[in-house]
Amino acid sequence: MINPWRRFKKNKAALFGSILLLIYLVTALFAPLLYPGNPSAPNLAKALERPSIKEPLGKDELGRSILGRIIYGSRVSLLIAIGVVCVGLFIGVPLGLISGYYGGKVDFGIQRATDTLLAFPGFLLALALVAVLGVGLKNTIISVGISMIPIYIRLVRGCTLSVKEQTYVEAARALGTRDLTILFRHILPNVMAPITIQTSLGMGTAILFAAGLGFLGIGVQPPTPEWGAMLGSGRPYLFHAPHVATFPGMAIFFAVLGFNLSGDGLRDMLDPRFKS
């Protein structure tokens, strides 16, 4: 039996992903220390200034520091990533548990609703929901979060179907344990591994989706420094100031790469097929 943590440490890609995530987290948590100024304060005299030693990533169309906005943008994208997976987790996991545990009509109802949501590609669903709810940070989190719910329902339902047949669940039932206790104290801890993996991968997807909405101008609104919106606002200046659109894209790429590599590493670490 190889220790899962040792297996994770031996996985160089996963370690690299974790380092990327650590940099991202530290940047988000210590943003005011890393960039003491106001990242939204315009300075039109320095609009579209190219990268220099003083300003390593240059200035945007309103003369704001791109580095400062990327640093503060990490907070926004972290908030989005956490908010989105919370929506997916808090709604999708209980529904998946109930659907898998009870079966029958309850399962049929939940699964048909899930099918409906899955009939739309995730980004399109988020787009449709934004069209209804309106733009802004809160609505972006809700819309992208709802698009994640069916994934959690399907995942947790599948795992619950196999876990509920285990002897310890049968024993708990035979002892007269309440269904709620069985669901959350006996089944949930045993389906946590796939949920953890999905959460890591889901955070990357959440950042991508939210950045996509921001890029289209229907996500987080300016002056909030959101990476996708920054990229979108740099698009008109692509020909003479490509740096405005380049650096926010790199920030999105490395954050998502970090989550994906860590998610893959977690899969190797927690997947029962790799345990022996």
């Binding site: 980004f123 890029f215 692509l238």
Partner: protein
């Protein structure tokens, strides 16, 4: 087979019903009067009243839903609040462009992804495997709109080889389809690698090798054919992802497709068009998945749908 097609078509009915419910309540969830929303910002009181009467918005909700379903069955999706053209006309005008883009992208992705996955699988844990799997991971993590912009900077701004956007010639198709292909090639490469590694470890592959068949024959005729089902599944699923990606790619490259129509409609709050375009995307996705299911039966003789 015919029975199976019918069965699959019937199984799509609850999903279609769900989609219709979602679209129906989409407008009802909006703050304010749906008739006002459908008529647009500049509509007169008479126009709003006419729409209210036409759609039966003064009737009970269940009757309204019945009327909505009736119109949906006849593909009467109303009129655009912006142009006043029938929504179905607006959608049909854009749909071929999106299908052209999506099909070209899927073809490019398969053309690169499947050979890359095979090469990675026959040389696992070598530099070639790491190269292709790293490329796949980069592709999954890359924002499609950023990649599009970077390709424009390289091929249009610096090299002046290709147009930065619009339509008109085959050259206009290259950058948007490459961008979209990069979006899905990663999934195809990863799935091909995983299912080929599994197929290559099966008994029938060992038997084929022990018969003295050439390695190319073993890989292509024995392993690949058996590995194709998960690959086809992932290609089918990626089609949905492509439709989502098309929204962004079409915006980056000013490609006049359905994705751009949706974005423009959201920005203009043109709800009938948003409803219509999303409905068509949903239908398209269901049809592609049905096609994928039918391909299974063709590829795997063990699957006989009775």
């Amino acid at each position: 087979m015919f029975q199976y097609v019918l069965k699959r078509l019937f199984s799509a009915i609850p999903v279609l019903f769900g989609i219709s419910l979602l679209l129906f309540f989409m407008l009802r969830m909006l703050p304010g009067d749906p008739a006002q929303v459908l008529a647009g910002q500049m509509a007169s009181l008479e126009d709003i009243e006419t729409i209210r009467q036409q759609l039966g918005l003064h009737r009970p909700v269940l009757v309204q839903y019945g009327l909505f379903l009736g119109r949906l069955v006849r593909f009467d999706l109303g009129r655009s609040a912006r142009t006043q053209h029938p929504v179905i006309q607006e959608v049909w005008a854009r749909l071929p462009n999106t299908i052209l883009l999506a099909v070209t992208a899927i073809a490019l992705a398969c053309l690169f992804g499947i050979p890359a996955g095979i090469l990675a699988a026959i040389r696992p844990y070598t530099w070639i495997d790491y190269l292709f799997t790293s490329m796949a991971l980069f592709g999954i993590s890359m924002p499609v709109f950023w990649l599009g912009l970077m390709l424009i900077i390289l091929f249009s701004v610096i090299l002046h080889w290709l147009p930065a956007g619009g339509t008109g010639s085959w050259k206009h198709l290259i950058l948007p389809s490459l961008t979209l292909a990069a979006f899905v090639v990663a999934f195809i490469t990863r799935m091909t690698r995983a299912s080929m590694i599994e197929a290559l470890s099966q008994d029938y592959t060992t038997t084929a090798r022990s018969k003295g068949l050439k390695e190319e024959v073993v890989v292509i005729k024995h392993a690949l054919k058996n590995a194709m089902i998960p690959i086809i599944t992932v290609v089918g699923l990626q089609f949905g992802l492509l439709l989502g990606g098309a929204v962004l790619t079409e915006t980056v490259f000013a490609w006049p497709g359905m994705g751009r129509l949706i974005v423009d409609s959201i920005l203009a709050r043109d709800y009938p068009v948003i409803q219509g375009a999303i409905l068509i995307f949903g239908l398209l996705y269901i049809l592609v998945n049905l096609g994928v299911d039918l391909l299974y039966a063709y590829l795997d003789p063990r699957i006989r749908y009775d």
